[in-house]
Amino acid sequence: MNKGKKINPKGFEIGQLKILAIILPLVIFMGMPIIFIINHAFKPMEELFAFPPTFFVRKPTMENFTKLMEFSNNSGIPLSRYVFNSVIVTLLTVGISLLLTTMSAYALSKIKFKGRNLLTQINQIAIMFVSTAVLIPRYLVVCQLGLINNVLAHVLPLVAMPVALFLVKQFVEQVPDSLLEAAYMDGATDMTVYYKVILPMIKPAIATAAILVFQQVWTNMETSNYYFQDDSMKTLTFYMNTLVNANNTVAGQGMGAAASLIMFLPNLILFIILQNKVMNTMASSGIK
């Protein structure tokens, strides 16, 4: 385990220079959006509307954030309520969907049972289908289940995510059968194999899937838009979006910039927490 933790080589060698020469410019390109978002949030009013638009902030202020705070204090529902909603919904969805995804990925790729191919194919078609088109039928389903204005309406539609299943399944397939057989020989049940063999071996896939699902849930406005009439049940994303759209005036722009930084930060934090797992366990998973 320890071996995998150190991915950076210790010294600096001349041989690394050519790689660095290619990578560094690309890094600058790829890093641009992040720098832009951070800079944008701290720009004072006149810089936000400057033409040509500036990339870096010249006179950073906290003006946008204080305005955002003031605005949310004046509205009926406090900001903390939305934050609470978002956190609960995101935690529930990510947790449940990871559990379901890994379980079904294990079953689909390692256990032989009737209808396995059919289920795989359903999943593959579902990946390719555009989610916009199932909007209305989904609404009807949610209606019939009586989930309107219920927290579960945030969670359930997003729980079964075909792309995540597809991704995790590919990783589970690469776990060698002999490993599972060895576990069975030692008297492991399917549950034990799933918990003690499969899960540790596909940790990187789980971390990747977690990031994908998190992103999907965190930036999702569909559920708040369609399944909730009660404003106090809606999520932070929805609130931020209405903020920007409703005040599409000069003041709205600054608040929007601040809001997008706030929306972006949890992504960044989660990624920094998980990136160790994502990057390292791949090396030490021992799958050959």
Binding site: I19, I23, P33, M103, F113, A126, M128, R138, A160, A205
Partner: protein, 364 residues
């Protein structure tokens, strides 16, 4: 002879019966039973979710696509139109066709670029360089941006293209060399270079995991035998990451096509909520199914090109099995013919047409 034949027939029947019985018994073996049970157990939670929120809505949308639906105060009003929606889209919706063609060309062009770029970056990140972890993070970070509303903001600000390079020169050069059919999407691609590259975060990650699973001793062995780095790439790295390439291609296509910035998706959405008599849910559902069909075709094309071929041994086994099957079929055919002919001769003999007993069944 007649008797022995009868006996064998009866014997065969009995044998078959016994085999069937045994098969039945085998079918409900403990292991398979347990596997089936466990498989279902693991699948059920996921299956319920899919059934309610994916499969059922998908089915409903097929039903919608052959209907004209209007929203009235009393509820939805359905009127069956058969394939009317589809023909209407194909015949009288120029927007959709134009954007579909645009989408196809841009996808077919940008998918290889994204995948190759991701493979290159992943290989570089797999080498020994300082601050590897930091680089990996930077390359993955755009993933958490591109799906959000931030991307639209950024493209509005013009951050989607490389302003340092003179794009007009490149696009101009391309347009003078190539026919406009090809030149337009390619120059589009160049002007959206950064956004294209931003899409490659997950792909890099998948490639990295594939690369790290390659046994290092293979490279050592190749080097001892005098293989260059270039040869190592083609003979070791590429075959080993091949399944990952397919996975990445599929993922990229799906990602591009279901992205919220995709114009076709917004087109579907607008036609879904448009007040037009002819449009509405049914029309939008038909559109979505057409679009899905196109996506499936693109994925299938790429998959056909990249499908991992079976290795030589498996091929040989398959060929041998096929030859065996042919042999069996041939033998059965001859047997059948023999039997038929024997019957005919028997019949003719009974009628007294043939008197000599020289032609017997065995001589055929």
């Amino acid at each position: 002879m007649e008797e022995t034949k009868e006996l064998t027939k009866a014997e065969k029947k009995a044998q078959k019966k016994a085999l069937k019985e045994r098969m039945k018994h085998l079918k409900s073996g403990k292991l398979e039973k347990r596997d089936g049970r466990m498989g279902l157990f693991f699948m059920i939670p996921w299956f319920i979710g899919v059934a309610f929120f994916l499969a059922y809505p998908l089915g409903t949308s097929i039903w919608y696509s052959v209907n004209n639906i209007r929203t009235l105060p009393q509820g939805l009003m359905f009127r069956q139109v058969g394939f009317g929606n589809f023909t209407q889209i194909l015949q009288s919706d120029p927007d959709f066709i134009v954007q579909l063609v645009d989408y196809i060309t841009s996808t077919v062009l940008s998918v290889p670029i994204i995948v190759v770029f991701a493979l290159m970056i992943a290989m570089m990140l797999n080498m020994k360089i300082k601050a590897k972890g930091f680089f990996r993070m930077i390359f993955f970070l755009p993933v958490i941006i591109v799906s959000g509303p931030i991307l639209t903001m950024l493209t509005e600000e013009g951050a989607g293209s490389i302003s340092a390079i003179d794009m007009n020169a490149i696009t101009g050069a391309i347009q003078s060399f190539l026919p406009p059919m090809l030149a337009d999407p390619i120059s589009d691609l160049f002007s959206n270079m950064i956004t294209t590259l931003w899409y490659s975060g997950v792909q890099i990650l998948i490639f990295l995991s594939g690369l790290q699973k390659i046994d290092k001793s293979m490279y050592e062995a190749a080097k001892i035998d005098g293989g260059s780095g270039w040869e190592c790439f083609w003979k070791i790295t590429l075959p080993n990451v091949k399944p990952m390439i397919l996975l990445n291609v599929v993922y990229t296509i799906i990602f591009i096509s279901s992205n919220s910035t995709n114009p076709i998706i917004s087109l579907i959405q607008t036609s879904m909520f448009s007040g037009d008599r002819e449009k509405g849910f049914g029309y939008a559902a038909a559109m979505a199914w057409l679009y899905t069909g196109v996506i499936i075709i693109i994925v299938a094309l790429f998959a056909l090109v990249l499908m991992t071929r079976k290795d030589a041994y498996e091929k040989q086994v398959k060929r041998a099995k096929k030859a065996q099957k042919m042999e069996v079929r041939k033998r059965k055919k001859i047997e059948r013919r023999n039997r038929r002919n024997a019957k005919r001769i028997e019949h003719q003999r009974a009628q007294g047409k043939i008197t000599s007993r020289t032609t017997t069944r065995d001589e055929y």
